[in-house]
Symmetry: C2
Subunit: 153 residues, 2 copies
């Protein structure tokens, strides 16, 4: 019985509301599962997420980063402060508008992301590899649509 959900559901949802509900629930549990297996790799998920945007999105203002990360300005200030304290990113103030702060990855930050990301999602990847190909394929085909939802399109 360990590991057994109290609510096993194997049928696809058949109303949009049920779909939303189950997607929501699955997201919560997915992240909790990953967080628990994360410990070795270093940064907490939100910091890693922000770092990833910074590394891939180049220098970015704090405001844009907050929007990309779907959080309020004070939250991004704090996340960036934590990353900066670890030497993974640095602030650069804009020359033309001195209110604006750009943030960019240091080489250490970029390196940590490259190395750490695979480790962090390794357990999820392993679980996905354990699925029948058809089910893994179903998830793969759903991901672009999920990203669209997340971006609010």
């Amino acid at each position: 019985m360990p590991g057994r959900s109290a609510r096993p559901q194997r049928k696809p949802p058949d109303t949009t509301l049920e779909l939303a509900d189950r997607l929501h629930s699955a997201a919560i549990h997915l992240l909790r599962r990953l967080r628990r297996q994360d410990d070795a790799s270093g940064l907490p998920a939100p910091q890693l997420s922000a770092l990833s945007v910074i590394v891939f999105g180049g220098p970015i203002t704090l405001g844009d980063l907050a929007q990309a990360e779907q959080v309020r300005p004070p939250t991004i200030t704090r996340l960036v402060a934590a990353l900066e304290a670890d030497g993974l990113v640095e602030r650069v103030s804009a020359s033309d508008d001195r209110r604006v702060v750009h943030v960019q990855a240091t080489s250490r930050g970029a390196k940590l992301l490259q190395e750490g990301r695979q480790r962090r999602v390794a357990s999820l990847a392993a679980a996905l590899r354990g699925l029948p190909a058809g089910e893994r394929g179903a998830i793969a085909r759903a991901v672009p649509a999920m990203e669209k939802v997340v971006r609010g399109e």
Copy 2:
């Protein structure tokens, strides 16, 4: 690892590692988006999630609930305490083993779940309704597999 939001991607992932990465990222952003739209209506996500297990899974021990929710015992103690303080669940100690505590929903808890939960996911449901039917279907077909991954099967 997340972070694809700075660069929208519309292609399905073609390696398992990339799939894991993007699924993870989508889950993070999905939950943040929902949290922000979670009005005064009710409980924070983790409490709602636990309440849902309790309502649908009947009376359940704290240990089993912790497992179902993928959290450590102290966390479940705290979540249940919060739900109890709101009169949504109640503790019942087991007659045969006095260490064990079962938790069950009150009628208020069951009612709040029925009403409030749908409200909470309403914005997600609306976003899903805005998708082309094919993409919504892709997500619907992926959900059972995601639940399987989450349960660690």
